[in-house]
Symmetry: D2
Subunit: 339 residues, 4 copies
């Protein structure tokens, strides 16, 4: 099987995670170059430890390289649409972290560029590759439980992010709940038509400074007649709470959290289990590898990536609708955002 030669853009937290996976754990992938405008000695050392041959501060070194088959876009969200366009123009397949962008016009342009270039585009909705969520979806999709009625997603980060992160995050719906919007579509097997959002500021007062909430519940109506609900908190305190549930004609399919270990300590004070794994690195580590492997596989076997540009767009539209719903305290149809 042809080895896929990859260039990676952006060496922040998520970029390094993908870099390490591509270097060590993804069969058929070869990470040959990385670029980051803030590349420094520490970054170069990181790249060398992974055996990355070419390190640069200029992303054009990636786009222009004729020996690179595919790019991983792990740079800040604002750069996503432009980088997608440039990678597509260079005929490279594209893995892009979520969200696909922040402006609908730019995203349309990027998706058209992908379409025209005939390259593959996969969006980084990593949770679809989690064995637990995937099992729930597969059981529902198999039809053995009948039609879905209710879709529930609970997603809580362990601790609030720093204030400077929140300031530029785009808000809870675009930054955090966007994963859950994609998960809801994935579980329901149906498009979201309308949302209604409630929010609260309970975790930390600084969220309010940025017109943001730290606690939110969003209800959803799906095209297949099912309804759903997502709840988010920026601060679970007990780890990363990631649970999904689909109630169907014949019963309920759900999953539970992965725990740090399976220990049980029984004393006069009670019966103590371990907490859920701490955060996305711990919980979704295997899923990040599966996601990258699926991308490589889609290129090698020339099939459709399992999460594409349209999925990236839809999750963003739902997030935008949720944001407007919270602002207006009124249900918002996705078609109102698209229009």
């Amino acid at each position: 099987m042809k080895e896929i030669r990859i260039g990676l853009l952006g060496l922040g937290r998520i970029g390094r995670l993908h870099a390490a996976n591509l270097a060590h754990s993804v069969p058929g992938a070869r990470l040959v170059a990385a670029a980051d405008p803030y590349l420094n000695e520490e970054g170069i050392a990181f790249g060398q430890s992974l055996g990355i041959q070419r390190m640069s501060r200029d992303e054009e070194d990636i786009f222009a390289a004729s020996d690179i088959d595919a790019v991983f876009i792990c740079s800040p969200t604002a750069t996503h649409p432009d980088f997608i366009c440039r990678a597509a123009a260079a005929g490279k397949h594209i893995f892009c972290e979520k969200p696909i962008g922040l402006e609908l016009g730019e995203i349309d342009t990027a998706l058209e560029a992908v379409e025209k270039a005939g390259v593959k585009l996969q969006l980084g909705f990593v949770r679809r590759f989690d064995r637990n969520h995937k099992k729930v979806r597969d059981v529902v999709a198999s039809g053995r439980m009948g039609e879905p009625h209710l879709v529930k997603v609970c997603s809580r980060d362990p601790e609030q992010p720093p204030e400077d992160y929140v300031a530029v995050s785009g808000g809870i719906f675009v930054d955090m709940m966007i994963h859950d919007f994609d998960m809801a579509r994935y579980l329901a097997g149906s498009e979201v038509l309308e949302v209604m959002a409630y929010g609260a500021n309970k975790v930390d007062p600084f969220f309010a400074k940025y017109d943001d909430v730290d606690t939110a519940i969003v209800m959803l109506k799906f095209a297949n007649g099912a309804i759903g609900v997502i709840d988010n908190s920026r601060a679970a305190r007990y780890g990363y709470d990631q649970r999904v549930e689909v109630h169907c004609d014949k019963g309920c399919v759900q999953d539970g959290n992965e725990r740090i270990d399976t220990s049980v300590i029984s004393t006069a004070q009670g019966v103590l289990y371990e907490k859920p794994t701490w955060f996305f690195l711990e919980r979704y580590n295997d899923a990040f590898i599966s996601e990258a492997a699926a991308f490589v596989d889609a290129i090698q076997h020339d099939h459709k990536p399992p999460v594409d540009g349209q999925d990236g767009l839809m999750a963003l539209l739902i997030a935008m609708a949720a944001k407007r719903s919270l602002e207006e305290n009124s249900p918002v149809r996705i078609s109102e955002i698209q229009g």
Copy 2:
């Protein structure tokens, strides 16, 4: 301690449940009379098996009896306000099944009658007496988890009720979710200010004939700034699904279902646990006894009943707001209903 002599009104399913508990399991209670307009030989035999001395078709036989201290109103909802007024006028303490009534004007009149007569009124929100839900609420109320952020209630009946029941039920919010509205207030320790409802018809087509839904999600805003969500299904299929969860400053408090037994069968096909207990008789049996005991205790020690007329009214107002919200696809403030 003075024995409390009780007359019971209505010998349907819930009336007989209370009758059996009062006869056998509630210390300090003595069930001396029962009335039901449809009393027949089978009903008389039931009463005799419990040692009820006086059986009648006329409720006035209860209200007029000078040796009766308290009444249990287990008759159809439409009779509740009138029976409350008549019991109050007769100076009898009142236990009334939920909902307290269906018309706000009648309920106001009934609550005024109770107030004026100085008798005790307890509403039948039995789930407050379930050891699991009560534990969750007690942990939250203790303050050890900090402030509540998110309140979640999941309540699913095992199978849909017969169509003729649905026809006169008043709809899912007043008939079924009213328990969850009370639970949400109980868990949050705060009043509900606003609701937004989504509904679906997925269980059985007949619900739509009565402008009713069989699947519903309602979001809530509380006066203390917390937000909440309730989901209901008329047909879990796997038993009675009754779970609550409160996410707070310091973490999450939740409960799980009681199971039929604790057996675990591990084979090549998977690991099989028993289902949740089947329905409210199985799940809330102990809670019904505790509820009646609390009522008797409130009379004997002359203190406020743990669930009073105001609780009955608030849950009904929230249910009415949810119904309107679903009809108008718009959030509805409780004050709009009250006004």
Copy 3:
């Protein structure tokens, strides 16, 4: 159905438990008399609160009463064989608490008396009536899991008993593990042929004073070729630990502890569940009622009691063999004890 009129012997802890159940919760039973040589005013008041009409210090008042159909023997173990003989001679059916006795000769005499009189004798192995253990046994007995290979019983009391109790208890095997020997026979559906016992003194030094151990493991060989193991501790500290497990051809059937409630508290310190229910009153309360109901039913419908004198004898023989095994540090065959 004929009401079974019952006289109860012994108003200690277990006697009062049976008395309360017979008075309130066992259909078809009527507790008409009780006798205890230490009966005092407090005991008389207890009896009156249950509506027991005749209270006495002389057990002969029970045996001689022509209106009594059956007796509950809840007196000290040493009295069991004699009371069984006297009840049988008086033609009364017999429920006898475990153990059936302490001397094999006396027990043989008692069982012969029962046989000759043609009365029913049921032994108080209450755990057979626990819904969880019974479910495990029923699944195994159904044959759907194939043949049993391994039988495991874990039984730990919450706290050690007082020293004066231990002094006269007969030791851990006869006093405590006898329940588990019966459970092992019940689960395996086969007789025990041989045992090997290990013991330790870890809970409290006073056990050693009475040649007793507070911690023990006993291995068992069954006639059907399966093997088994029981572990006991006098002090779990976290409640009453009661778990059984049978590994079979097709997999494993086990049960878990009942918990005080189903609450789950997740914080930065871990995920805290409630402890198992505290002791036998809490865990086996429903089973005590089922046990008494099964006895009454066996009399009313004239069928064999579900736990009979032979079961009482076998469990005692195994306990005696375990005791000898510990003393001799050698496996002991049950036939060596019987011989």
Copy 4:
């Protein structure tokens, strides 16, 4: 940190597992050579896929190589003592799979050679590196639960091995339960003084042909006064059942199985969870990596390996004592084997 250059002996199932881990996942390790007398083209291709530079049919190519710091002995058990001696003579550190050997004299010779050469020897008791078992042991070793009273280990393979494997396995105690004997010592923090074994043939008749059993229970006495029990089955059917439990002064510490996923499917048929992970590759994958990393770390930092030759010897002695106990139906002291 100095890179540790490793040569690997034996490219069977366990050898390949270690090879893949050393090549990809163990920091500081460099797998430079491998030898196997049955090396064929397929084996060479396997080695090349991992980047192993030198492949050979002659183990002497490993022992004689001056650039190799350490060896992994993954060859058949009978070769272990000889290979340990030759590696030690060559001044190479040694990782040796369990069991350390089958003949006590050879093992003594090997351990003396290691001692004399001053090289490090680590035994492959991988389960000590499982996060769940390690957590149980760490909690016990911390002393926060007080003294251990009871140690329980349950270990069941998913399916019986092929008959030709059993024929040369050395029997259940040396082949399978040896892991559990090491685990028992590890959990108890104390040496085993005596064992008593019961066995059964329930899984497959062919075990009896080789004087072997497929189902076994072994009781243990520890030097610290605690007692323990291990149960083994060659065929769980529902996956790899791996549970440990230590009951202590203040309560119980245990772990549970890792499951294939956390899905829960609730229907009218029951509540279905996933099975335990299938076998040791799935369950102990992370532990194999940690084990190898600990070995590399011990060399790099010149400290004692966490599992040494003495641990290997003790587990074998206990296994031999268990085998004799089963044959003689009598408890056997470890000192009887050692003598």
